[in-house]
């Protein structure tokens, strides 16, 4: 008898840790990694929900998240390389050309 609520709590904690990572870390790589965690947590939550209702939809959604994460990482890392090449640094605060 799996505790669904605890599952969601774990997903929630993982998600919030991801958010903290995004907010705190200046290095772009770490931001990307935190985003991965958040995605992963979301996927976990979907699967748990799927299991809760006994529907495969949760896992289908997880599959889509995986696809999206893969595409996102590839493009994200491409951009990171391009960015590093341009600015010689990965500090997000330094790269703030898009000012108001």
């Amino acid at each position: 008898m799996l505790p669904i609520r605890e599952g969601f709590i774990v997903a929630g904690i993982l998600f919030t840790l991801g958010v903290v990572g995004v907010l705190v870390r200046r290095n772009l790589l770490f931001v990307l990694m935190s985003i991965e965690i958040m995605l992963n947590a979301a996927g976990l939550a979907f699967v748990i929900a799927g299991t809760r209702w006994g529907q495969p939809d949760g896992q289908v959604m997880f599959l889509f998240i995986l696809a999206m994460a893969a595409a996102e990482v590839s493009v994200g890392l491409g951009l990171v390389l391009e960015l590093y090449h341009q600015f010689k640094t990965l500090d997000t605060d330094a790269i703030s050309r898009m000012k108001g």
Binding site: G18, V24, S34, T51, V60, F62, A69, S74, V75
Partner: protein, 190 residues
């Protein structure tokens, strides 16, 4: 429920599964926290991989063996390897680590962590109100997922494939961006 062949999941039905769930969750959370606090990018990556594997175990516990497998193969296997590859490419080295440590003063943590704690509190409060009784796990193998995928979610699959194609093209374009064209601009600049 139609009969189906014996699966490893039947083995875990007894209390062992819950214990596995709790240990895996603890491992996942600790690994993530360690990942956040690391200064060296590679160390963080390794912690991230551990955390992903732990999540895979949780997924397995929740009767989603197909999802767990995918998590391990694609997420931990493909995406994280890509990450490691990029980190190696950038070879940040010690200087970056030192700079990183300078930036990570404790004060930097306070603001965001307060915000996220509120977020977490709201999650928990919302979860507390939702009705989620402990449920008899009915594992959903690849058959059910496959049926659903190519059933109602047909459109979703097509879109996902389009998304991946876009990712591919973008990655290819960005990857080759450093081709002679940018070299030429680079030359003209210097």
């Amino acid at each position: 429920m139609r009969a189906r062949p014996w699966m490893f999941t039947d083995f875990c039905r007894e209390g062992k599964m819950i214990a596995a769930f709790y240990t895996a969750s603890a491992v996942a959370i600790i690994a993530t926290i360690l990942m956040l606090t690391r200064v060296n990018a590679v160390h963080a990556l390794l912690h991230l991989i551990v955390s992903l594997l732990a999540v895979a175990v949780i997924l397995f516990d929740f009767g989603a063996p197909f999802a767990a497998a995918l998590e391990v193969i694609i997420y931990a296997g493909a995406i994280m390897v890509l990450f490691v590859f990029v980190v190696m490419l950038l070879n940040l080295g010690e200087a970056a680590a030192r700079a990183e440590r300078a930036l990570l003063k404790p004060s930097a943590w306070i603001g965001p962590s307060i915000l996220t704690l509120i977020l977490l509190a709201e999650f928990l409060w919302l979860l507390g109100h939702g009705v989620a009784p402990a449920v008899q796990v009915v594992s959903q193998g690849p058959v059910e997922v496959g049926m659903a995928l190519f059933g109602p979610y047909m459109l979703g699959v097509e879109l996902a494939s389009m998304l991946l194609l876009a990712g591919l093209v973008a990655a290819y374009h960005l990857g080759t961006a450093k081709s002679p064209r940018s070299e030429a601009t680079h030359a003209s600049h210097s």
